[in-house]
């Protein structure tokens, strides 16, 4: 470990000096206020329509969804989603809890739910995609590998550095989201109860395991799951970066995979074995909120296992290739 520390320090310096992390912070700094503003508009409109009583707005949402169930043009899939949504909303109503209690914490929770499958992985890609390929593009890989240091140590130091910055990115996303949205919605809401544990059985929701957790705990669980997704995406991007010499190609490959994932999520319910693809398993936070998984038979444990296998496999490939390959240019 003593000889790994200087290497990790090197990689950290390079990462900081390449200013990738600042770009990520900048993206968050621009996008979060945009979403905050959008959310503010929605809240304003609801207040105009339903006054200050949140029950009316939830009741309206339930009624709207129920009405649409009668439409024959609605695909079966969607009906299922809506039935589940109706039952969850009813549960909130019955227990007199506002699912959309305005506040910085609620906004952060909802934003992160939506960000976990595409937005956060995209930021992670920005960090990971060029971590090895940039050394090959610029030729500095030759300087690294002709030093009296084993190749696996060089790669390992890059991996450790990447994981540190992945963690920082996830933390930064949460903190900035809370800090910025709090300016508008207030910083309260940590103790607000959130229901979790909805078990889905076809279109029925099993409510027996549902319990309330304070929102801070919910946020904490969410943070852990998003961190896990991010770590796996980082490992995959890391592998692509080892395999592909050009940074542009490596970004395109990861982007294509992620976007394919979000498309598949919407249409893959008939294709059972798609559930073993990493891309459809990225929305881990859905299991917390009780949103149905895109394919029958997917559970939190299943998704965690699939992602872990993909992550480990890409690490194995990365290290095997990097330590063996000929550096021809």
């Amino acid at each position: 470990m003593t000889d790994l520390m200087p290497l990790i320090r090197n990689e950290t310096i390079k990462m900081v000096r390449k200013k990738r992390f600042y770009v990520i912070l900048l993206v968050l700094l621009v996008l979060v206020p945009m979403f905050t503003y959008a959310q503010m508009k929605v809240t304003e409109r609801n207040r105009e329509k339903f006054g200050t009583d949140w029950r009316r707005s939830v009741q309206q949402a339930i009624t709207d969804n129920q009405n649409s169930l009668g439409s024959s043009r609605l695909p079966e899939e969607w009906k299922k989603y809506r039935q589940i949504y109706i039952q969850q909303m009813k549960y909130y109503l019955d227990h007199d809890v506002n699912p959309q209690e305005p506040g910085g914490v609620t906004f952060t929770r909802e934003f992160m739910d939506n960000a976990s499958s595409l937005f956060i992985p995209l930021l992670i890609m920005g960090l990971a995609s060029d971590i090895v390929s940039s050394e090959r593009t610029t030729g500095t890989i030759k300087m690294l590998l002709t030093k009296p240091v084993r190749r696996w140590k060089v790669l390992f130091s890059k991996l450790v550095t990447l994981m540190m910055f992945v963690s920082l990115t996830v933390m930064a996303a949460f903190v900035m989201c809370y800090a910025i949205s709090g300016l508008v919605f207030g910083y309260q809401g940590f103790d607000m109860p959130v229901f979790t544990g909805f078990q889905l059985n076809g279109s029925d929701v099993d409510l027996s395991a549902v319990h309330a957790v304070p929102q801070w705990l919910y946020l904490f669980l969410q943070l852990g799951l998003i961190w896990f997704v991010s770590a796996v995406v980082a490992m995959l991007a890391f592998m692509i970066s080892v395999l592909v010499r050009s940074t542009a190609a490596s970004i395109v490959i990861m982007m294509a995979a992620l976007i394919a994932g979000s498309i598949l999520t919407n249409m893959a319910s008939a294709w059972q074995s798609a559930k073993y693809l990493f891309m459809v398993n990225l929305e881990l936070t859905d299991y917390l909120s009780g949103t149905p998984a895109p394919i029958e038979g997917m559970t939190l444990g299943f998704s965690l296992a699939v992602l872990a296998v993909w992550g480990l496999a890409s690490l194995v490939v990365s290290f095997l290739v990097f330590t063996k390959q000929d550096i021809l240019n």
Partner: protein, 331 residues
């Protein structure tokens, strides 16, 4: 005196001890044998030239020396350690620039040296300072590398190669892209390093340029070493050429062939371009010892031939190379 201490550890290797031993190196990429048979030895304190045309396999060989490419067969020993089986120990004794000196453009020269210093043992701030002064980069070392000229990058590359007090310095085409003044400075610099006991391995496709610099050379072409040895010895065994510009030409040719002197029909295949350019049109180039010149001059005069000029061509490495490869193009 100050420079003596800079490379102190290199001096521990006595001259005459092999620092780098390459035995029957072969490399196949795909189905093609890029390197077919390369063997040579570099001894401590010498400047060793690795010469050959572009595409002969110089860079591939160098990449194998520094463990960037795995040889298909053969062995490479650096200071007694095998590059494949104990890379850490073997690479610890060399400093190298492979092709261009590529460093991180977004860092300063100093930060680059710090980066590489952390990968080596016993490199502290004082050492980085020392090396910076040695390559005369101390005025610009805290500027971003992005702003450096090619010559400065080259010097920074050498600085990082020297950082770990190597016993063997490997420079791949160090004069590429330098102006004539830069080339001269580079040669002086390499000589200074060698004087302090470090072995320097220099590759080049410009044979005449390196001839002035190297103690010993290996000449490589199409993946094979054609010759290895001291420059003067290699050249000594080669034939000498004499250029005659005489009138009438036909009579001179007749006399020469009567005396069994070989006249070159296509001198451009064995003589390098700079020599060819100086030969007058219609001159006769023949293979003959310089000592025989006086005799033939007298003979031609006796026969009533008018001698415009006559001179001897000193053999060069390039000439040697052209002879060995049968006029294969150098570039």
């Amino acid at each position: 005196m100050e420079q003596q201490t800079v490379i102190s550890s290199a001096a521990q290797i006595r001259s005459g001890q092999p620092v780098l031993e390459v035995r029957s190196l072969r490399k196949r990429i795909g189905r093609k044998w890029i390197i077919e048979d390369v063997s040579f030895t570099v001894y401590g304190g010498e400047i060793f030239g690795f010469l050959g045309p572009n595409g002969a396999g110089k860079t591939t060989t160098i990449r194998m020396l520094v463990n960037l490419i795995k040889p298909t067969a053969g062995s490479i020993q650096i200071g007694g350690y095998d590059v494949r089986s104990s890379p850490e120990k073997a690479l610890g004794q060399i400093g190298a620039i492979v092709e261009n000196p590529e460093v991180y453009a977004y860092l300063t020269g100093w930060e680059n040296l710090e980066q590489f210093g952390r990968m080596l043992k016993g490199v502290d701030e004082a050492r980085i300072k020392e090396v910076t002064e040695l390559v005369r980069l101390d005025k610009r070392i805290h500027d971003k590398v992005r702003t450096y000229s090619l010559g400065m990058r080259q010097r920074l590359g050498i600085a990082q190669a020297l950082l770990g007090r190597p016993k063997l310095l490997i420079l791949d085409e160090p004069t590429n892209g330098l102006d004539p003044k830069g080339i001269k400075e580079m040669r002086d610099f390499i000589r200074r390093l060698a004087e302090q006991g470090m072995a320097v391995f220099v590759s080049s496709h410009l044979l005449s340029e390196i001839q002035l610099l190297c103690d010993r050379v290996a000449i490589i072409s199409s993946g094979k070493v054609l010759a290895e040895g001291r420059v003067d010895e290699l050249i000594q065994n080669r034939s000498n050429y004499v250029v005659w510009d005489v009138e009438p030409r036909a009579r001179a040719l007749e006399i020469l062939s009567n005396n069994q002197i070989t006249v070159l029909k296509q001198p451009e295949t064995v003589l390098d371009d700079s020599v060819m350019a100086g030969i007058p049109e219609g001159a006769i180039v023949c293979q003959m010892e310089g000592s025989a010149m006086a005799g033939y001059t007298a003979l031609f005069a006796e026969e009533g031939l008018r001698i415009q000029s006559v001179y001897k061509i000193n053999p060069t490495l390039e000439q040697l190379f052209l002879e060995m490869t049968g006029g294969e193009s150098i570039d």
